[in-house]
Amino acid sequence: MAVDNKLSIMTVNCKAPLLDVVVAGDWLLDSQIPDLELVLAQLGDGSQFKQLVFSTEALGRWDSLLMTELIRLIAYSEEKDIFVDTKTLPSGIQGLLALVSAVPERAGVRRQLIQVPWLEMIGNSGLHLQNDINALIIFIGNLTLSVAAFFRGKAHFRWLDLWRNIQDCGPSALPIITLISLLVGLILAFVGSVQLSLFGAQLYIADLVGLGMSREMGGLMTAVIMSGRTGAAYAAQLGTMQVNNEIDALETMGFDPMEFLVLPRVLALIFVMPLLCLYADLMGIIGGALVTVNFFEVSLVEYLHRTVNSIHILDLSVGVFKCAVFGVLIALSGCMRGMQCGRSASDVGDATTSAVVTGIVFIVIADSLMTIICNRLGI
């Protein structure tokens, strides 16, 4: 392929009223080409020329680069009322020129991508927020209707889907929940031990870990993990279905996507989250025990005894209840963003991102509210 490129040349012989443009050499994408402005300058205002012809005897290989230059030259000449004799060009170029002008640009089709000023952007995001809240309320309303239909036994969905969703967000999530909860228990124990061992009260690490996990951390960590794991998956699944028209197809077949797709996912999470929460509590307590027994001269029996005494059934119930609420919120944000997804690949990415962000924001707000309420009620 080592063919040396010949120099690209475009010169003008002025034989008024005839203008002879000589094109020679190779015109390839990587060639150095002469500046078209110099040629255009020689045309001047075009008043002394009537016709433009080409001499292409010495033209070598050429590609789109030559075409773009010729198109500019021809457009400029026609603007100056100079007749361009394209018949003097090689037939391949003539054909391509004909093809380019075969479908003229439709009027009004061209548009510019406009830069939105920053003040307008802030305003827009405010308006978006309002739309978002409206959409959320409508979504919650629809979901409530389908849950009501479910309890009246009238919801149309496949039990197999519910079962698969439970499998997906329950047992399959255990490894990651195990790892994170163990480590959180471990960290709680270490952090608590720094202060408690000052008073020789290492035994009370059991209280700290037990209460901390069962009331707060077990549920919260489970929720954060499930938001990233399952909430994102829901948004991506439903979003891709939206892109592929699958949701439209379900609607035309007489299924309510809310019942058929969203309901089994929400139910699965509501069912699974409390169980995962209990499991996470247990793992956290084991993590705490590992630290306390190994580093702080507390026997395993003492630790467990202390734990059993410190955790009341009420503490566990609060944690489990919170986690069930988180489950609803995760399913809600995941499914909502998925159903709102646009029609392109990047929209699926946006839906997934905002599902996780929305989910975590909801979780943290709900957690704060519930903690304050529990505190006020003295639970």
Binding site: S64, T68, I71, R72, S91, L96, V100, R110
Partner: protein, 262 residues
Amino acid sequence: MSSPCLSIKNMTMAYGDFIIQRDLDFTINRGDIFVIMGASGCGKSTLLMHLIGLHRPISGDVFYGDESLWQADYKTRQRLLRRTGVLFQSGALLSSMTLAENVALPLTEHTRLGAQRIRQLVSYKLALVGLAGFEDYYPAELSGGMQKRAGLARAMALDPEILFFDEPSAGLDPVSAKLLDDLIRSLRDHLGATIVIVTHELASIFAIGTYSVFLDMDSKTMIASGPPKQLLAESRDPKVLRFLTRGASENSNFSAIKASGA
């Protein structure tokens, strides 16, 4: 005009243990509009994947000119594939980019042209496929036929020697399909490119195909090759004839149709 451009030597394709097609052996000449045809599921698109370097054959090879595609190292393969352009079935435009950005992508990556020059080239390519003025549209805002033509503009961005088309007229109305066929033929005529088309559209096959191979699903190999019209007139193979006559050759008036078709 009949120097070999792409040759397939004894190629066998498989997914895992499942053989798709075996012992494929044919040559695509420069300037051909080469049609790969066969029933749905016979491995036409898989063959295309092997030709454009996305799938490695389990035996045999593909030669670009006289350079092997699959014996070559990664860099050589990339260099060979720079000479090709591919139009995928659904256009495969990147949905987060405008048409102009889509077409400009290979130009900015593989050439050192300035932004101004690239913009001119992009406008030219889009005008060539009849999409003048649509530079700043996103693919989702266009119809299926327009997306396909924009995909063609992107495939042509680097002035490839070989253009591959996967089912170009699938999902288009007859008029748009005919226009696309005309476009493909005039691009071949004016650019001097070689065209390889995977299709089962009979109208396109007879309208623009200059040479073809027929892949068979049961025997898992090619059972006929030649110019499509000649295959229709001369082939003795019932499977080929059934395909080329839309199943009509099974009827008793088989010879009448054959005579009118030829």
